[in-house]
Structures are given as structure tokens and as C-alpha cells.
Subunit: 146 residues, 12 copies
């Protein structure tokens, strides 16, 4: 079982960036936690972070050829990217959307996600741990299918 994990724009700044909103964990710490859980569950992860919408689109398109599922935190592109939405719909893989902060407590434009209608589920506001829950859920879903 192979899973693509995508971190969207500015997530490379985690830990340094507005910690009252995003917490103090760095992206590397989250990835570490994810890799431990993946090992525990016996799945293979490929993790990317990109500030480029186009690079994320490309990665999703390529995942059609190798991955079994996708975990994506589209960050700012959540609210503006039809291209990432289309890539996910095109890929047709099971996918879970993650947000570190509770976007529903923030500005109104953050309450709308172009991505949510094309993924299986969404986990919001549970910090870096949300990724771990997403991995559990995705693996469970993929196992159910088999």
C-alpha cells in the first residue's frame, strides 16, 4: 500500500509561522510522526511539500500510476484551486483532506473548500495529529476495499 502525502503552500514554515494558529510543531516533526505511524501500519509514504499549485497538480496526476491513496493539506489552495480539485477528481484515488487549524474559526473565505467535495473525508483543527488520523482512516478504507 503506497500513499502520497502532500503539504501545500507555506507549510514549510510550520512552527515558525503564526504559532498561535498553527501550533509549534515543525513540518519535519509532523512528517516524523507520520512515518512512524506508516511503519506501524506497514504502508509506504511519499511526502512532498510545494508552494506551486502546478507542482501539486502534477504530483497528483502522476500518483495515478503508483499510489493507492492521497492525504492532502492544500493549505491556501484549499480556497482557490480548481486545478487541484480537478487533479484529485481525475486521479480518482481515495483521498483525505487535512487542516491543522480549525478553518471554521477563521476568516469567512476560509470556510469554503474547493477540495472537500472530491475527497472521501476531511479532518480539521486537530493539529499535526490530524495527519496521523487521516493515515489510519485511509489505510482502513483501502483495507476494506481489498
Amino acid at each position: 500500500m503506497r500513499i502520497l502525502v502532500i503539504h501545500g503552500p507555506n507549510l514549510n514554515l510550520l512552527g515558525r509561522r503564526e504559532p498561535e494558529i498553527y501550533g509549534r510543531e515543525s513540518l519535519e516533526e509532523i512528517n516524523e510522526m507520520l512515518r512512524r505511524k506508516a511503519e506501524e501500519l506497514g504502508v509506504e509514504l511519499r511526502i512532498i511539500q510545494s508552494n506551486y499549485e502546478g507542482e501539486i497538480v502534477t504530483a497528483i496526476g502522476e500518483a495515478m500510476d503508483w499510489a493507492d491513496g492521497i492525504i492532502i493539506n492544500p493549505a491556501a489552495y484549499t480556497h482557490t484551486s480548481v486545478a487541484i480539485r480537478d487533479a484529485l477528481a481525475a486521479a480518482g484515488l481515495p483521498a483525505i483532506e487535512v487542516h491543522i487549524s480549525n478553518i471554521f474559526k477563521r476568516e469567512p473565505f476560509r470556510h469554503h473548500s474547493y477540495i472537500s467535495p472530491v475527497v472521501d473525508g476531511v479532518i480539521t483543527g486537530l493539529g499535526g495529529y490530524g495527519y496521523v488520523l487521516a493515515l489510519e482512516a485511509l489505510v482502513r478504507r483501502l483495507s476494506d476495499k481489498t
Copy 2:
């Protein structure tokens, strides 16, 4: 650690109700799964289901006196109940909102939640298993605080 689990209106019909949307698990099966996980985590659960907005409001208000956290699937009241929102804000307990189906794939009026801005996190579209993830996350959050 004591946690209140609230199932909103019509969730008593789970398994029989539009299974293409809500799946085939009954509410009892979900509760069973939750109780097993609670035992594993060493926490005490009190589970209620109600079709009455007023009864849910009352239960949340009373939880101020005994519970450490709340897991709530407000179902239809997600989109219409300021009273439940106010109860959660009044109680001030850590809380996680759960939806069995992916509400963002459904009618536009289901995309708005009065509840999300007053809870810590939201788990959507991951079926009955979403409750289990919520329990894990809530226990982790409560442990962190201690």
C-alpha cells in the same frame, strides 16, 4: 476522564436510512466500536441519542458538571441550531464534531455548520469510524492539557 457522546436527530435510524449516503452500520454497532475504543483508552463514555434540540442543549449544559470533553454529531441540527452552538460555547469543554457522510458532497445548505466555529476540530465523511478517530483525538488533547 469522562466523555459525553451525542448523536443528533435521525441517527437512531442508521443502517436503515439511505444506506448509500450513511452506510450500513447501525448506531448500536458504532456505539459498540466506540465503547471498545474507550475501554482501550481507559475513558468513561456516556452516550445519548436525541431527536430533540432542547434535550441536546440540556445534556450539554449538564455536562459542565461532570464531563471532560464532548463528541457530537449534530446531524440535521448542524445547519440550523444556534441553541446547540450556544450550549457548547457556554459549556466551554473540549469538543469534536463528527459527520458520517461527507456533507460537502451534498446540498449547499449542508456545507454550513453553526457548530464548527465553537468546537476544537471536525471529522467528516469517514463513516462510523470517524467517532473512533474523534475519541482518539479528544483523549490525546485532554492528556496534553494535563
Copy 3:
């Protein structure tokens, strides 16, 4: 053939309540007229009136086990209750929505019904007689199916 008739909030006040809008017939008179028509058509009616959204939701859920169809005047809940809508969709029974007054002549917020998209038909503005027409139509529809 067994049919559940539901009168929503404030309909207990019919005849006394703003008669220039709702007419001078009492709820009891309407029920009497309905029972006579039911007898004539050879169907069994169970009639309830409730001011509680939760009680109406519960009655609809229970109807899954005994009724063949539903006639509902959701009154004020027409415009605010996703829970009743969900109950009707969950029950999956043939159903007709009735309004005594012509809601399209009234305040704009009364022009939208959460209920109409999940019932078979809607009869509006024809007074208490609208229930009788609904009964005729529902019996006809149920007979056609058989």
C-alpha cells in the same frame, strides 16, 4: 392502507389564530373532515399535532414500521427544519405536504420549504380542504403502486 397525518406547531390554535390568514375552521373540524374522507376511501388514519420538532421527527421515523404514506403540514418548521426533512427522506414513504394559507403571498422567508424537495407533492393555500385533496392524491398514488 395506513396513513400518518402530522400537524405542526401552532396548528392546535387553528380557528382562533389570525383567522384572516388561516380561516375559521378549528383543527378538530379539519380532522373530522379528514376522518370522514378516510372512511370513504377505506384507509386508516393516525393523526398527531405537535409543537416539538423532535416529536415530529420521532413520529416520522416510527412510521417506517407501520405506515404506507404521510400527510404533513410542517407549519413554521417548513422553513427551518432540516431534521424533519431528513426524517422524511429516511422514512422513504410517499408523502404530501399541505399548507392551509398561500405561503407565497406572505413574508419572503415563508417562500422556501426545506420539506418540498423530499415529498411527492405539495398543496398550498386551499384551506383545510387541502388535507382532503392530499388524502385523495396519496391514496391514488399508493393504489397505483400496488
Copy 4:
């Protein structure tokens, strides 16, 4: 008692036109059913079908001089014709609006009717039988007035 029945645009295609929405009854079959009911009730019907908004407006204006009431299915003009609304308001005759399909299950632009606020009642989603119910209700209303 003389009643004008108006079928709006495209209703001449009934039975052939999107039968999953409009059913398989032809307009002629509906008219036949209406005429039988009219005979039973002892009222005289004049039935027209027109694709022209202007022709419908004219027919309603002329009805001031001979008819006691109007049954109208404005079809597509329901959502776009202020002229038909104005004609009905000008005529000032008792009138009932009929829709064969449940317009509230369809595209949002079909949820608004320019006609409903100027008629006495509306019957929606009950197929061709909706006209028969409208006739019953209209005759009852006209008899009450006498």
C-alpha cells in the same frame, strides 16, 4: 359555473417529453380526465394550450367577461412571466396554479413562481391528477362564495 383551463408552453408534448419527469400521460388524456370530472361536477370547461405568453395573457384578460375561475399550469412561464401574473391580478378571478412535476426537486430557478402570489392555491407534483384536484377545489371555493 364556467372555468378556463390553461396549459402553458410545451405541454402539448406531454407523454413524449422527458417522461421520467412529466410522466407518460398525454395532454389529451389529462383533458379527458378533466372533462369527465367537470361533467360530474356540473361545470363547463374551456381548455386552451399555448406556447405564446401573449396568447395566454389575452385569454386571461378575456376570461374577465365570461369565466368564474381559472386553472393554470403556466409551465416555463411560471418562472419568467410578469405579464401572466399581471393578467391574473387584473382579471381578479379565483385561480389555482398546477404543476405536474414537483418543481422543488428540480433546478433552483424553478423554485420561484411569479404566479403563486396572485392565485388562491397551488398544487404541485401530483401529475395530471393535480388538475382534477384543482377543479374540485375551485368548484368548492366558488360554491362557498355563492
Copy 5:
């Protein structure tokens, strides 16, 4: 100087139609008053009334070949007809829009006119006399151009 006067749908009913809104003057009386004023000003009038949007469009298109100006009361088509707007823009003749009642005192959908942005001026709420004022203004405008 030749001027086309167009009366839109339902204006044939003037005097009989909701006189508390439209007054008690018949269309014939208004036309008589207009003809007298035209004679006084030495201009030729052609007056039509139509309930058909298409007929009004055609009349405007033909006016390109004979008329010097247009006075139009589009009545209900004011609010719904892009076709009449396009005809007026295509004809490119000086034109004045007239409304007998004050449409700004009425339902919100009557506050918007598709016609006003393509005419020279608008006279609203001054009863049948508004046509006479329009004729004066149009003749003055046409005289100024010469």
C-alpha cells in the same frame, strides 16, 4: 414628425384593471388625450397595444423605416424583456419610457427595468397624463435635433 406609441401587455384592460393602482381612465381615453396633444403639436401618431413581446419587437424594428421617435409603456415586459431592449437599441430612435403607476412603490421586481438604460428618459407614476408629457418632451427633443 412621426411617432410610434406602444402600449404593452394588459394595458387594454386599463380602467377595469386594479383601478386603485392604475386609475380609472381607459386606454381609449388616454389615446384620445394623446391624439389631441399630437394634433396640437402637429405630429403624426401611430398607436399599438399588444400582449405579445414578439409583436412589440417587430413593431420597433419596423419603426426604423418610418418613425422619428418612440413612446413605450412596456408594462410587464419592462422587467423581463431583453428582446424589447435589444429592439430599441437596434432601432436607435429617440425614445421615452412611460409607466402609469409609480413602480417604485410596488414589489421589488418592478424596480428594475431592462428598458430604461436604452431610452432617453423615463416618466413614472403620473398616470395617463405621463404619455402627454412624454410626447411634449419627445417632440422638443426631436425639434432640438433639427
Copy 6:
């Protein structure tokens, strides 16, 4: 002179609930203050608190038979309950709406009240003392009528 005082959902938590918004007075203290003022004015009060929309609707309907006026703080139901609005309109009694906090300083959805258009007056943002002012005003109004 007999007056019904209604406290809506979550008001039982007053004093404990978000005191920076609602102040530190408990509901019992407010009721005490109200009872003293009632005694001073020589009027009889019946005071209820309910979290159930249906229970509030029922209480208002019953008040038609015994009360001379109503003071209501609909709390969260202010913004969502057509049923309570309809009950107040049905009862037809003089009524004053009270809000402890200044709802216009809070979230936009709290700026709209379904209740305000059917009461005589509204007192907002003056804390528990607002009930006392409402009682004074209501008694004055009832006295004026006599």
C-alpha cells in the same frame, strides 16, 4: 394584570456562561429582581425557562387563555425560530423582546431576529436590568389600553 416571562435556551446557565458576554448575574437573581418590581407594580408574573422550542411555543399558545402580556428573551431561538414567532403572532398579546447582551456587537447571524417584527418593542444590551425595563414598559402599555 398577569404577565408571562419566558427565558429561552441556555439562560439557565447565566452567571456561569461566558460572563464576559452575559455578565455574572444568575437567572435566579434576575427573576428575584423581576418579582420585586412586579410586586411594586402590582402585577402577577409567571416565569418559565426552557431549552425546548416546542415548550416555549406551547406556553405562548396557552397564554392566550390567561395572560395580559409577554416578556420574552428567546435567546438562540431569536435567530432560528419561526415557530415562536408564529406563536406570538397567534397569541396576539402585547409583548416585549429582551436581550441581555448587545447582539449587534456579535456575529452577523445574531443581528437578525425572527421575533422583533411581531412584538411591540425590543430592549437589547442592558443586562438583566433590561427585563425590569420591559416590565415597566409593558405595564404602562397595558395600563394605557385600559
Copy 7:
């Protein structure tokens, strides 16, 4: 017969101000034309121009004591002044609103008038001559009443 004529803000600049929109007539020329027509009709005019909303409100309020009717070009205040609207409604005098340019050809915010719903009629886009037409119409209306 005594009539108050009010010219709103910036109309003192007429002739110099954006002549492609407002024409080349000065306010003095318009007033001259109005005075001639007034003399012809045997009515007395008082004409004011003010850039102050408050001054216009005051003038309308005082007109209750001496004037028989009002002609007002509220200019920019058309779109923003509830105070002038309230003054006109308070005065309760017959009134006609005039606009020199066709406001419906201009920015969308100019399409809404707070004033139009409280006057008898509106004349738009007919230049300075619109005032003369307004005077004719107002005198006719006042004569009809006598």
C-alpha cells in the same frame, strides 16, 4: 398654489459640471424656464439649492406650513438619504422627483432611489426640461384634487 422647488448637491455647478452628462444649461437658466412656466400656470415658486442634506430636510419640514407641493431633484442624496425620504413622507405633500440625466444609464448605485417610493412620480433623463414637465404634472394633480 405654492410650490417648493429643491435642487440638491452640486446642482449649483450645472453647465460647468461634466456637460456630456448634465448638459450645458446652467441652474439659473433652468430656474428662469421654470419661473416662466410658473407664471403661465399662475403658481408661486420658491426655489432653493443646497449641498446640505440637513438644510433640505429642514426646508421640506417647513414646507408643511406653506407649500401645496414639492418638486425635488435630490441629486446625489437620491441614493443615500433616508432623512430626505423621511422628510417627504412626514410632509405628506404631493411631490415629483426629477433627474436631469438618465440615471439608469450610469453606475449601478445610481439605479436605486430612496426617494422614489415616497413621491407621486419621477421624471428622469429629460434634461432641465424635466422640471417644467414636473411643474405641469404637479399643477394638474393639485388642480384635480381641488
Copy 8:
């Protein structure tokens, strides 16, 4: 304790102005009632009425130097004046907004107040007596602070 009372535009016409909306009390009668209450409470009032937004803004700004609180009925400026809102926010004095009529029963544009979010409380629909209640509440608030 010194309090500024501000009456906004057109309130000088009270008693003569649309009495079915504003009642038959004159402004002088209201001021008299206020002065008596002020004497009873031992506070000093300065009362102004102005039709000029700018004059009201100036008065509020000057109140920073002498007043302890403000009672304001902004009348029409309620719905249009950011300048008065800013003045009140700048002054930072305790303030109560009063409306004589119930603005929530009237046109939709009267339902929004620019002023309410910057005052302590609002009293609506209780006639001239609303000012007296405001004075009581303001004095109580100021006393509590001392």
C-alpha cells in the same frame, strides 16, 4: 452626572408626522417627560435636535469634554451614518440608542443600524417612553461604574 440627549432628523416634526407610526406625542412633550425623570434621578440633561449629520457629529465630539453619557435617537441617520458611528466610538462614552417606532416592523433598510454596534444598548418601539427607560438604564450603568 451630565447626559447629552440627541434627537436626529425630522424628530422636530413628532406628533404631526405620520402619527400612526410615530404616535401623537410632540418632541416637546417627550423632552418634558425626560426632564422630569432627570430631575427625579438628580442628573443634568442637555437636549439637542438637529437635521444635520455634521451638527450631530460635532455635538458628540464636544461631549467628550463635558458629558458622562449619551442618549441618541439617530432617526434616519441610524441607517446611513458612519460619521455618527465614528463619533460615538471616538467619544467612548456610555450610550443608549432609542427608536420610537419598532423599526423591525418597517422597510428592510430600517432593520440595519450603523449605530447599534457602538452603543451599550438599544431600546426600540416603546414610543417616547423609551427615552425615559434609556435614562434610567444609563444612570444605573453610570452609577454601577462609580
Copy 9:
């Protein structure tokens, strides 16, 4: 292969009508170009132009009995006619919508088409030549189906 070509309202004026928007080709020249292309492709055309919405609706309904496809420039009715939309949906024939000018460069109300969602494709802004492209595309589509 037989194809119906429909030109909507005012298209008879092409060449004379606002040539800076619609170009200088007359309708006859466009039809000539179309007929040549039809001959080249071996298909039969029937071409109509109508200013009447009802006539266009009728023509589409009748096309069910003889045509294989439809090319329609609904002109002004694009933005206002649900009746034409319904006719096209009823007919169920392959259809292409053509606009001579680029409607997306024009007034916002021209950006919405009731027709586009029920046709196969849309060609906009390519002048009279757009019809020729539509014919090519339609014939290709019909050939593919065979």
C-alpha cells in the same frame, strides 16, 4: 440529415443593427453562407427567424418529428426564456447554440444563458461564421452517432 436553424429576435435587423457589435453581414448573407456549407456537407436545412418566443418553442417541438439536429441563436431569449430551454430539452435532439457577438464582453445579464445547459455545445463571438462552424460540428456529431 435534416437540420433546423433558428434565428431569434431582432436578428432580422442584422447588418443595420449596432454594426460595431454585430458586424455588417445581413441575415440573408449568413443564411447564404450556411446554405452553401450545407450543400457541401450534403445536409438539408430549414431556416426560420422569429421575434416570438412562442413561435420558436413551437418550431422546436415540431422538429421532434422531422429534424436530426438544431442550430439556434436565441439572441435576447438566451437570457430570459425557460420555455425555449424546455422545448430543447423536450425535443432531445443534438443542438448547438450560436452567438454572433462575444456576450461575455457585454452587460452582466448577457453572461447567463438558460439555453447552454441543454445543448451539446456553444459557439460565441465568431460572427456569422460561427453558424458555419456549428453546422460542421453538428454534422460531425450526427455522423459519429450513426
Copy 10:
């Protein structure tokens, strides 16, 4: 080169008024800074502050006769005054709009300016120094034109 500087309502309170938003500089200090810069640039300033919309309109109209450019901070009138917009458009002088605070960080109604579309440029959020930048830019623009 002569320049008119206009300070809108409440700006006389600068320094005392909500200093966390507007800073601690008084208006006199800003004017002093402006006058020094004007001297340095060799231009003549006339500075006014007014709380009256009408006074600002008048000042702009008069500037047509003596000024070469305008710097305006319309303060609260930014969001509500069409009259000031019209005055600026009428005057036709080069103009720059200044805001001391960053209005885009504040309430949504402060994000819209009626003034911005009729000035050359806008400087927002740079405190009192924004006026100095505006003066530099205006002088540069005026010099370029010469």
C-alpha cells in the same frame, strides 16, 4: 501651485480618538508636517476640516475656481457620500484620497469607497505621513502635466 487639503468628519479628534487605530498624532501636528513639506515643495496649501458633508461638497465645488489639486481624507464619508464623489468628478481636478488607518483591516463596510473611482490615487494605512506622500505625488503629477 495651490492645493486644497480636506479632512473629513471626526478628524478634529485625532490623537484623542481610538489611538490604537488612528495613532497619537493630533490633526494640528499632521497639518504642521504638511505645511513644512508644502513650503519645501513651493506650493500653497489651504486646509479645512469639516464634519458636514455639505460643507465639504461646497469647498470642492469652489476649488474649481482657485485650486490645482485636492488631497482628501473623507473619513466616514468615504463609505457613504455620493455627493462628495460627484463634487470631485464635477471639479475635475487631480486628487488623491488618504486614509490614516488601513481600512482593509477593519469592518467590511469600510472596504468600499465611493471616492476612490474618481480620484487619481489612494494612500491607505500609512498614518499622518500618508498626507505627505500624497502631497509629493500630487505635486509631481501636476508638474508632469505642465
Copy 11:
């Protein structure tokens, strides 16, 4: 004659991606068809596909130096990219927008194109063949200009 053809994000997946929406043709097959038509018409094509908004912007900017026209299918960027719109406006070259699927049959957010107002024409819903039609139209347009 040299023409730039741009395929936007995800179009590299054509044929594999949601074939019920986008058809089964691969991008390479479409390009082949286009190259054959280009050869037939004697024009030179440069074809790019990119998932990067910035890369598309750059390509359009560079086209100013070598191309005579542009054919662009902006795919998802149609609905979100002001940058591509600005690039097309900046380049000022004749351009045609192509969509493979009929975007007006899909989600509402796909009905709006930032691109359409800055191109000459739009071809929608005609599959890969739409590019060929665009090429014909563009070449014709460019030839007309010469």
C-alpha cells in the same frame, strides 16, 4: 501565420481522466488532429501543455514577440486566473478559448470564465474537435485582417 496553442492543467491526463466528461481522446490525438488541420491551412503551430499558471502567463507574454494568434483551453484556470486574463489582454493578440466539455452543464463555479471577456470567441462542449474549429476561425479572422 504562427499560432500558439495552450492546453491548461490536467489536460495531459485526457483520455484517462473522467472519460464520461472529457471523452476518450488523448491529448496527443487532439494535437495530431490539430497539426493535420494546420498543415492543411498552411499555418505553423506551437503547442504547449502546462499545469503551472505562471508558465502559461509567461508563454503568452513571450507570444507577443512571435505569434499571430492564440488558442487556449485554460481548463481549471478558466475560473480562477486573473493572471492569464491579464496576460492575454497584455499580449493583445487575436485569441479563441476552447473547452472540451460543456462547462454550463457542470458545477456553477464552472459557469464563470475570467478569460472569455478578453478573447475574441469561445467554443464550448464540442470535444477535441472544438480546437479544430477554433483554428479554422482564427485563421479566417487573421486572413480577414490582412
Copy 12:
């Protein structure tokens, strides 16, 4: 003192691109002017231009490590990029937004900026010189902080 200057998409085309909107200065000329001013003020500039949203996001993130402030003209991304907004908020550096043209005179979608609420100030419509003013203001602000 080190400052990052960012020019957004299409700004590389300045001087050649729609000069009636953006003027005739090339980007190089603006940069030259900026560098001269920077030298004068003794600050170090790093200037980038990019058409890639992702590249701009990356540059801002990296600026956290070396820059003291940011001047940004986000061009088209002003209206669509939450990612750049988030980067600026994450970096937390003093920043000023610049627009060459007056965006408030242009299409409505250009009136909204995602960027403005997270910068200190905005300078709009003052051409290339706006960058120089921004530099002055930024240096002043940075100096004040020290």
C-alpha cells in the same frame, strides 16, 4: 536595512502592456528609480519579478531570514492568491502593497484584495512613482521602530 521588492505576474511587460492603463514606463525604469531612492535612503534592495504564485510565496518565506520589510505589487494575484496572503502573514514583516493603476476605476473583481488586510499600507494609482513612495514610507516605519 534590507528590503525585498516583489513585482507580480505580467509586470515584466510594463511599458508594452496596455499603456493607457499601466503607463509607458518599463519595469527596468521603475527599478532604476527605486534603486536610486534606495541609495539615497541608504537601504539595500533585492528586486524580483515572477509570474509564478509559488515563486512569490517562496521568496516571501525566505525573506523571514534576511529582510526587514517588503514592498509588493501582487498584480493579478492581488485578487486571487490566499497563498501570498498567508506567506505575508507568516513572514510577519512590515509590508506595503503597491498598484500602478487605480484598481478602483476598473472591473469590480479588481476592487477586492486578499493582500491588503495583511500589509501595513496600500498605495494605488500613482504609477511607478508609487513604489518610491512605498519605499519612503517603509523606511520611515522601520526607522520609527528602531
